[in-house]
């Protein structure tokens, strides 16, 4: 996706329902909201509900013309999302208090069924994974597939936290390079 800076013109078109701008806005912020909400709420279903609610509130506010600083559209979306998260957590805490010995819910930050997964992206990620040494692939398998926490991965693979960060950075850079070579936007 193209990088974006927001201005009065962008917000005006968005408010008027310009199809191209609306599509861009929806794609750009949906993915960022998805990342944040999965990180904060853990449950994919709750995250999806919260994403939709956030987008609804943002559109509703924009149509009332109450955004004073169009260049801070991103900050505005983030603050609406924070409110939705707060309300979601509060309503779920009220609805059902978890028993003390309840096991932790599964970490669903990385979801193979998410709308971020496409055949084209999988093919590029496969290429990146195959270009890595076997041991690094094993580390990423523990992080992404087995969803082990950082301490467990480092202790099992006898690596430092710094190595894990560099490995993630390297894999991410390679993916960017692959996508750029293929002239694909993320």
């Amino acid at each position: 996706m193209e990088r974006q800076s927001f201005d009065r013109e962008y917000v005006r078109k968005l408010t008027e329902g310009d199809p191209e701008i609306s599509r861009h806005f929806s794609e750009y912020f949906s993915e960022l909201l998805q990342v944040k909400l999965r990180f904060r709420l853990r449950s994919p279903q709750l995250a999806e509900d919260a994403r939709q609610e956030t987008m609804l509130r943002v559109f509703s506010t924009l149509r009332k013309g109450s955004l004073e600083q169009p260049e801070r559209l991103g900050a505005f979306v983030n603050s609406v999302c924070n409110n939705v998260i707060f309300e979601t957590l509060r309503s779920h805490t009220r609805a059902a208090q978890m028993p003390e010995n309840q096991p932790d819910p599964p970490d669903t930050r990385f979801d193979a069924e998410s709308n971020l997964v496409t055949e084209q992206r999988k093919s590029h990620v496969r290429k990146v994974l195959e270009s890595l040494p076997a041991r690094d692939r094993q580390v990423l398998r523990m992080v992404f597939l087995e969803e082990k926490n950082r301490e467990e991965v480092c202790s099992t693979m006898k690596i430092e936290g710094e190595y894990l960060r560099v490995l993630l950075h390297r894999a991410k850079s390679r993916l960017k390079t692959e996508m750029t070579k293929a002239r694909l936007h993320l």
């Binding site: 979801d111 040494p133 041991r135």
Partner: protein, 220 residues
């Protein structure tokens, strides 16, 4: 919640640490507030999410080749120690190594260095696809000569280079001055320290941002 600007996000490796759950609550909130406003960090976060979700899908696919089983780490050195016993093993090994080194230097290395020789190089190209290039080392070869073609839109004065073995080991990390435009980087790697297998030569800028990587196979 403290503010986070782009410089701080980069210095903190905030994107990687956010995904690894290493940031404090305050730092996570500050980074979220930042990436909703910073297009560069937003792209970084999106790339991480694409990598994470698609890697999960790929790694969960049965057709994806599994990591190689761990090898016996004791190796020949452990076997040597077991044969001699721990007290005798160290001086015996030192004596053998010294004798071999002295003999090799006087009989092989020094005479060989005085003779002209022709070497074949392995050219590594950035856009290479499909089969990895193979370097066939011959008996008596001392170096693996690499000619690395670097194709970067924004040349940098120096590169950080390293060789990564399939086992994950990082070999020969070094900083190299960038060659003149259009000229490949020539690197000589000591063959004695390399066993046959798959390797990747990686070139980063000095901030460790990858510029290019070149997988190849060494056949000995």
């Amino acid at each position: 919640m403290s503010d986070m600007d782009h410089r701080k996000a980069v210095d903190l490796h905030a994107s990687e640490r956010y995904f690894l759950g290493e940031l404090s609550e305050g730092e996570s909130e500050a980074f979220e507030a930042h990436f909703f406003e910073c297009s560069e960090c937003a792209e970084d976060v999106r790339t991480h999410a694409v990598l994470a979700d698609n890697a999960k899908a790929v790694l969960g696919d049965r057709t994806f080749r599994e990591a190689a089983p761990a090898q016996d780490k004791r190796g020949w050195l452990g076997a040597f120690g077991q044969f001699w016993g721990p007290l005798q093993a160290v001086p015996a090994l030192a004596a053998i190594v010294f004798a071999a080194l002295a003999g090799y230097q006087s009989l092989v290395l020094i005479p060989a260095l005085r003779q002209p020789s022709i070497v074949s190089t392995l050219t590594l190209k950035p856009a290479a696809r499909g089969e990895e290039p193979v370097y066939h080392a011959h008996k008596g070869d001392r170096f693996l000569p690499l000619r690395v073609e670097i194709n970067t839109p924004q040349p940098v004065p120096e590169y950080h280079c390293e060789l990564r073995a399939d086992s994950g080991a990082v070999l020969f990390p070094m900083t190299a001055a960038a060659p003149p435009p259009g000229t490949p980087l020539t690197v000589l790697l000591p063959l004695a320290k390399l066993s046959a297998g798959h390797y990747t030569f990686v070139i980063d800028d000095l901030q460790k941002n990858e510029i290019e990587h070149y997988p190849f196979v060494l056949d000995k």
